[in-house]
């Protein structure tokens, strides 16, 4: 039993991590809380669904196409509504809420409010002792680990990644040494949105795709990045592990409905006790 719960928790952690990495990336560079993340998570899953069901493409290539579409969509959103890094955080939050309402409504009107199933090609079930894990879940874990590694490599060793780190540390200093802060913001936002949509596409075969599927995942993502420290990638990974395990254990042993509530309570406690998070920069950023 306990092995099974740990396996489930790992899958949950992997999905949360994909969400949280995107959010923390956007927060680190643009210093705004992106509330369209959950809607893009759902939109990714639905685009993926239509590529598979309407155009008859196989699962994996359509995942890449949908991720690219989400990248473009994220770039468009950033240019139109969150332009540059100068937007006031409160305006960005209100704007994000409005946009996510629109996106969810559009999804509902195009694809309907009923949950849609996406068939995964990885339907084989692996047996580990007395517990089981679907191959799809293994794929999710592998994808999330590789995303984390790729992101690390991108930020650490490429020139653009260096610019991203520079902007997230000090925007004005980055301007001064000739970093194009606007482009960095654009690419980061698009990248974060793409990560959100990948999260949605990978989750949809497990939980079915519904227009409001992103709401809980988004709040979970916020809880994680607040726990780990806003803008810190390592913090997001550790936070994802903590909340993924807590969420799964509460859902298994206490009650299914309280899983999300525990994440909220965690977030409130962290905000109150250590606003900079576990791995955030020192000092009160609030």
């Amino acid at each position: 039993m306990i092995v099974q719960v740990i396996l489930n928790a790992l899958v949950q952690t992997a999905i949360c991590m994909i969400m949280a990495l995107g959010l923390t990336l956007i927060f680190g560079v643009m210093k705004i809380a992106n509330l369209t993340h959950g809607a893009m998570y759902a939109l990714g899953a639905f685009i993926h669904y239509s590529l598979i069901e309407w155009l008859g493409l196989p699962f994996v290539p359509s995942l890449f196409i949908a991720a690219l579409a989400a990248f473009g969509g994220g770039a468009a959103l950033e240019r139109a509504f969150f332009r540059g890094t100068g937007a006031s955080p409160v305006v960005a939050i209100i704007c994000g809420m409005g946009l996510s309402t629109i996106l969810i409504n559009v999804i509902t009107n195009i694809w309907g409010a009923w949950p849609l199933r996406i068939q995964t090609p990885f339907s084989y079930v692996l047996k580990i002792g007395r517990s089981a894990i679907g191959l799809h879940n293994v794929v999710i874990i592998i994808v999330s680990i590789s995303i984390a590694l790729l992101l690390y490599a991108f930020l650490k060793w490429t020139k653009f990644g260096c610019a991203v780190r520079g902007v997230s540390q000090d925007q004005e200093a980055a301007w001064l040494i000739g970093v194009n802060v606007n482009t960095v913001g654009l690419i980061t936002f698009a990248l974060g949105t793409m990560l959100a949509s990948i999260g949605g596409m990978l989750t949809a075969p497990i939980t079915a795709a519904s227009p409001t599927m992103g709401g809980n995942a988004e709040i979970m993502g916020f809880a994680i990045i607040i726990l780990g420290g806003m803008g810190s990638l390592g913090g997001a990974i550790v936070g994802a592990f903590l909340l993924g395990f807590v969420d799964t254990f509460v859902t298994t042993y206490v009650s299914g409905g309280y899983g999300g509530a525990v994440a909220f309570v965690f977030m409130i406690i962290v905000i109150l006790l250590k606003p900079s998070g576990l791995f955030g920069k020192k000092g009160r950023q609030i």
């Binding site: 705004i32 809380a33 509504f81 955080p89 409160v90 305006v91 960005a92 939050i93 209100i94 704007c95 809420m97 409005g98 946009l99 996510s100 309402t101 629109i102 969810i104 409504n105 559009v106 509902t108 009107n109 709401g215 709040i219 916020f222 809880a223 607040i226 009650s255 409905g257 309280y258 999300g260 509530a261 909220f264 309570v265 977030m267 409130i268 905000i271 109150l272 606003p275 609030i286």
Partner: protein, 321 residues
Amino acid sequence: MVRILDLFKKRTTYFFIAVVILACMLPLYFKSGYSLRLMVTIGFSIITAMCYNIVIGYMGYPSLSQSVFYGVGGYTMALITLRLGVSPWIALIFSPFIAFAVGYLAAIPFLKLRSMFFAIGTLAFTGVVNAVLINAHKITGAEAGLRGIPRLLKSDTAFFYIEIVLIIAILFGTKILVESYWGKILTAIREDEDLAPHLGINTTKYKRLAFALSAAFTGLAGAMFISYQTYISSNYFTIGSSFSILACTVVGGGGSLIGPIIGGLIVVGVPEALRGVLKGLYIWRPSFMGAILVAVILLFPGGIYGGFQKLAGYLRKRGEK
């Protein structure tokens, strides 16, 4: 006394009286049950938006937990009348006090946060409360809800008039608040919260009181709304309903007296009024709300009322030249 006499010299006063009389005559022309119900619903959105205006407009805190207090008032009404069997009027007296207490308790931790973090914190608070409402279904009835809550007044028309009275009361209450010492403190907090304590203002105390006061009136409105519906369900108090309260206030113009009224009429009223005309478009109602909110926040940060004022000022300047 002189100040009251001064009011009779202003054009605004007569305009205000005319609007009130027109509003009171509305039920004479719109007699059908549907339009009355619609007007009462718009009235409730306006009342909640006006209460919320104190927090977001005058104090500058973008709270996303307003529907929690609406729900506290509503559940107070539902549980007291259904479980204890007392008259709804007694429950109506209790609900603002309980909402005030909950609001004050919520203010203690959350008002330590600012701007974006306050918004996310209160968003999480709404989420927790909603999860509790759904899970404690033996008490709250969860999504299926509780039925048979007694009505305060029998007819919808009476509800409409009581709403008008409440709106005018809140309007004057807000005006007195804004012009008082307390209102000046709230504006000081909005403009520069770090500077305000240096002028000898106990910002914490005033912030908490203003937040709790707004919660209390929201709770009163929630109790009335639930008594009007005779039905309560956790679906009324989600993050989405907090969002629509925010939309009404921000679209109309936060920080102005009549902004929330305009916002309520536009955000809730316009889609309903067009429902008969554009039948197929009704499913796009949330998009309309979102789009108008995004457009207003990006183009006129002062809301429609603020934009109107700016336009009027611009035209007046052109006229003088």
